[in-house]
Symmetry: C2
Subunit: 379 residues, 2 copies
């Protein structure tokens, strides 16, 4: 059969404070289009549907609309698991009803041992779990690591294997030897939390979630789909998308299909003067999430405000060659005492932010200092 | 047709810090038993399924099990709405799939105008809503109150009325003239948030939720089911249960079926000496949630601990005849200054709590005061 493999939707995720819901809805639309164009028989989602265990109401609204469209309107069978960012119990609500329309959303370890069979393929949907769950399920106190747990899990799964079918594992963990980027914040790389690739060799395909780069793992029979969007600057150069997988009993092939972001996460470099020149910024996509590398060393008054007026989604500014020393470096206490209150604030602001106060800010400070002064006299 | 009317489950609610989940599961079991014994065709739940908009994981687990049992295992059609304690969006997940097995869970105003038809009856499931939702839905800026909104709501519902059927409204609000108890904390009594009974006269039966007493409203065609459990001391004397309603096109009848609480909320009265006597407490149900009315006036050392050893679920202690003045009433500053630090703490404790320090508490204080004293000298 032919299926689409995606993962790590992280619905509700923010990027440096910016809400990504619009981008997530857009990427989801592209996933659906790919699924239709490629005429897949099912959509696999390998965990981390939400970004947090208690998602916001807005994130839930988006998720609800997505699964309705995917499963009830477009009639795609859906094979999904919860990831480490999801609350398994919160995600569980509705699960037994979803099955009526071939939407399988596994959130508990015990569900992983009843494969979903479609056409020529058995799907084992293994949600993210902690070793404690395996200790309880297998009644085995010796299970301390995910690797130990996975050995038992796979033994039990293999008892369900039908020889004339392809076997697909859908799971959400870190496979030893994979490479990570910056946006998988809770991940422990290597060590006790990893699963060796050799453990997974019985499967024709392992549809993985957890790592956000599609190339994190290079294996014959296992792939991370990666996230549908870039979730950090470290993913700047990654191509995002989904795998289209064809399972045959003896041979499984997969192909990558790209998703074009509504707004990219990228980087620009130049002097402040260059960056605020219309010739420059009109030629690039300034709606993107931009990390700005400034070549200037001079202090630039009101820099962030000026940049944000042109680039509405600045996720960071870096001074490539450092910043000039402040004109006045006041380490002498006497000198500080000699300053007027407004000058003192100006100096402090400039030392901390590298910018000078604007006229408006200065007026606001004067006004408020006067008020405080008055209040003090009133006491 | 014949249906069971319940409401205000408030799953996850705590009573004076005590978790009520066990009692809620027990009451739910009784509701199911009544539904089976009475051979009802459907179960109506008129809002406030959860106690809070973001329920705990434990509350969600209980809720998930309940709806699975009620709808998927026992095959009861369920007609439910969200109440003011529920988050409509959080409760909405799964809704479109629930319908496949006749589980209707309405959370949005617009859903209220597509009646669910079963046998001879049209059910209008109107979730709790704010006037702003009606302003948007009806595109009418003049709607400021629930009463104004309900006028429009009912006009639109009546357009869907089929003349040869009975018409049932399921809703969650305050009907003018009802009586309230203490556990509906967020309720504004009377005024702009109420709906006059006269507005509801077109319905053969109005299955209400919001108020926790079954007798809160005495009307020919409208009833609060009340909560399945007592949620406050003010509900001490209420009988809890559900209505069994029979709708005929021209005549609707209803009958109350009681739920016996796993642990009651009640009150006992006596002197401390009486209450701690085995002859007394062995004759009563001391596992109940108890409000204790003490007839003593004397200070009783370590009173709460002693009571809780016998009565594990004390929800309050009241001194029916007040409390004796403290032996030493130290209002004179000089006198206070003359006290040793331990005496000072003892006196303060006794004034605040009405109890004297136990030997153990006194030792602990002495020990700690000595330590503080030492630390001070060390500085």
């Amino acid at each position: 059969m032919r299926f689409l493999h995606t993962a790590d939707w992280h619905i509700g995720k923010k990027l440096h404070g910016y809400d990504l819901l619009e981008e997530q809805v857009d990427a989801f639309g592209q996933i659906l289009t790919i699924a239709k164009d490629e005429k897949v028989d099912a959509i696999v989602v390998a965990g981390d549907l939400y970004d947090r265990s208690v998602p916001s109401v807005e994130a839930i609204e988006v998720f609800n609309r997505m699964i309705i469209e995917m499963n009830l309107q477009e009639k795609f069978p859906v094979l999904a698991i919860s990831g480490n960012h999801d609350s398994s119990t919160r995600l569980e609500t509705g699960g037994p009803w979803f099955i009526q329309s071939d939407f399988y959303l596994n959130t508990r370890l015990d569900q992983a041992f009843q494969p979903v069979e479609m056409q020529n393929t058995q799907f084992f949907l293994l949600p993210y779990f902690e070793p404690i769950s395996a200790r309880i399920y297998f009644d085995n106190e010796d299970i301390r690591t995910i690797e130990q747990a996975m050995k038992e899990v796979i033994i039990e799964m293999k008892q369900q294997f039908k020889p004339n079918m392809a076997h697909v594992l859908v799971s959400h963990f870190f496979v030893a030897g994979s490479e990570k980027s910056d946006s998988e914040t809770k991940l422990m790389v290597g060590g006790l939390d990893t699963v060796p690739l050799s453990l997974l060799e019985s499967f024709d395909y392992v549809a993985l979630g957890h790592l956000h780069g599609k190339n994190a793992l290079q294996a014959e029979n296992a792939r991370y789909s990666g996230s549908p969007l870039k979730f950090s600057l470290s993913e700047m150069n990654q191509k995002k998308g989904v795998w289209i997988v064809d399972t045959q009993v003896s041979d499984t092939t997969f192909e990558f299909k790209e998703i074009k972001p509504l707004r990219d996460v990228t980087q620009i470099e130049g002097s402040f003067k260059q960056l605020i020149a219309p010739d420059y910024y009109e030629a690039i996509n300034r709606e993107d999430y931009l990390h700005i590398q400034l070549t200037d060393r001079a202090v630039i008054p009101n820099m962030m405000n000026q940049l944000r007026q042109i680039y509405p989604r600045v996720i960071g500014v870096e001074r490539l060659y450092g910043r000039e020393e402040q004109q006045k470096k006041t380490e002498n206490k006497k000198e500080i005492k000699a300053l007027a209150p407004t000058e003192l604030v100006d100096q402090f602001f400039s030392e901390v932010t590298g910018e000078r106060l604007t006229k408006q800010q200065e007026d606001w400070i004067k006004e408020n200092l006067a008020e405080i002064h008055q209040a003090e006299r009133g006491q």
